[in-house]
Amino acid sequence: MLSVSNLHAEVDGKAILKGLSLDVPAGEVHAIMGPNGAGKSTLSYVLTGRSGYDVTDGGATLDGEDLLALAPNERAAKGVFLSFQYPLEIPGVPALTFIRTALNAQRKARGEAEITAPAFLKLARTKAAELKIDFDMLKRALNVGFSGGEKKRMEIFQMAMLSPRFLILDETDSGLDIDALRIVADGVNALRSPERAMLIITHYQRLLDYIKPDRVHVLAGGRIVASGGPDLALELEREGYDKYARAA
């Protein structure tokens, strides 16, 4: 599914990713853990095409297709979804309007017909109920005045509505209390399937108690410096990132 090789990227002329290689096969959930400043968010932005993040070497493919050559919206239509660490507020655009516009734009890009209004509303009601989101909240401007936890839940709601194939969750657990964390994790786990893959970026091990990864990678100094099974996350929680930060 996702294959990243020798990726180098810089922000404002400063090298952040320095030869990052990573393979996430379909059906698997991989976690990326690392100290602050290791390049975790940079990786998520490079994969989704945010401007200001310049790739200087290496590459990334999704199912063999060059991901980095595509515009951000084209990557989304291919099924790449980023759950933002800090979701943006969109004043004046109701959440439902925003999501329906996004869904139809993706479908159009894939050559599919637009979803009908009744089908869309039915889907939204079902997914909102699953994520315990008050349907009236979806009529309000997206994320405007929402709490940190509500914004994160809204990210997972969008994810459920757009049904992406490759999911990147950037610090999705931050700002969530334990009940909200469980709801969000249930939402993410519901999307696990043999056709999908996920990359979970997190500083703390806590989220991985709820979303069990197949592989755990340590990102330090702009590279993957260690990889292992789920036990690696527990070891990091116990021993910290020091030895990896030094190794980087």
């Binding site: 095409g49 919206n73 989304a76 943006l88 969109i90 655009v93 925003f98 996004a102 734009a105």
Partner: protein, 341 residues
């Protein structure tokens, strides 16, 4: 010197210009070397106006001809479409008086419809009685070569409610000015505006509100989008006279500048001579939020559509404050055409 008098006397030297503090960003004197010949009467079929379907009555003022009086009797409710039509390359001025008596209710749809390189001035006087309500919606669709000045003076009685939304796509040079005498006494005033400017168009929204008595409310929200080499001007002044305590006045002006050569000049002013008041103003001028744009694109929305969606939403916050639902539909369609066309 007034614009109307300059047109009448055909003396271009008496037009207001950059030496006049209130006109320094809308210089007519420097633009117009000679006042054009008086306009000929408008002939032929004008077609439908933008609000005809929403009005009980349609009044047309063509090239300054057809002095208009609108009278709303006590307890009467009326919806009037006032079409200020300019055709050709001449100069003309018109006067309109509006009287809404105590307890009456008026919805005024005022449209400026221009074709040609005209010089047009319209002076409007509103008298709004106690407990009367007015919603005035001004849609200025001038030509790119036209020069338009609209000057409205509004006198409110205590307990009157007056709401205005002025929407414009600009002209070669255009000034849409509103002056309000606010008596306090629980009278409520809303003065909103939208300017959507492209090419080399210019629009100037100027408002002066004088609070003369206790317990008055004013709320103002103006938003603008300028692109290409367009220029938007916002001058908003609120004066709270001595003794006009418990005045609550809020003014906001926010503009998006979508090209390097576009320009917005803003001058929000509060002059407060009373002690116990709540007054505030906010003013921002900037580009579209790049983070929000990326967020929308990450969800699959192509860049042009994302820009249009965010810009429409920016303007929509003013349109949503309009009370007349039918007018909101007309205005949303107008804005969509301006922003996506």
């Amino acid at each position: 010197m007034s614009v109307a008098a300059a047109i009448k006397s055909r003396d271009a030297a008496t037009l207001p210009g950059k030496r006049d503090e209130d006109w320094r960003w809308t210089d007519l004197r420097g633009l117009i070397r000679a006042v054009p010949e008086p306009s000929a009467p408008v002939t032929g079929d004008l077609g439908a106006g933008p609000f005809d379907a929403l009005a009980d009555e349609v009044i047309v003022v063509g090239n300054g001809v057809g002095a208009a009086h609108i009278d709303v009797l006590p307890g009467q409710t009326l919806a009037v479409a006032l079409r200020i039509v300019s055709r050709g390359d001449g100069a003309h001025a018109a006067r309109v008086s509006v009287s809404v008596e105590a307890g009456g209710s008026l919805i005024l749809f005022e449209s400026y419809e221009g074709e040609g390189a005209y010089l047009s001035q319209t002076g409007l006087i509103f008298n709004v009685g106690g407990g009367a309500t007015v919603e005035r919606i001004v849609l200025a669709a001038d030509s790119a070569d036209g020069v338009t000045v609209s000057q409205a003076e509004i006198d409110l009685a205590p307990n009157a409610a007056y709401a205005q939304t002025t929407l414009t796509s600009g002209a070669r040079r255009q000034r849409l000015q509103t002056t309000v005498n606010h008596p306090g006494g629980h009278a409520a005033l809303r003065l909103d505006g939208v300017y959507l400017l492209a090419d080399k168009r210019h629009a100037d929204l100027t408002t002066v509100v004088t609070h003369g008595g206790v317990d008055g409310v004013t709320t103002q929200l103006t938003k603008g989008v300028v692109r290409d080499q367009a220029r938007g001007v916002f001058q908003g002044k609120i004066i709270v006279a001595e003794g006009a305590d418990q005045t609550d006045a809020r003014m906001g002006h926010h503009a998006l500048v979508l090209s390097d050569r576009a320009e917005v000049d803003a001058k929000p002013e509060l002059e407060i001579y009373a002690d116990d008041v709540a007054c505030a103003h906010g003013n921002t001028v900037g580009a579209l939020d790049g983070d929000a744009l990326f967020y929308a694109r990450q969800r699959g929305i192509p860049e042009l559509e994302a820009r249009a969606m965010l810009t429409e939403a920016f303007i929509g916050q003013v349109v949503d404050r309009m009370e007349h639902e039918g007018a909101r539909h007309v205005i949303r369609a107008w804005a969509t055409e301006r922003l996506r066309g």
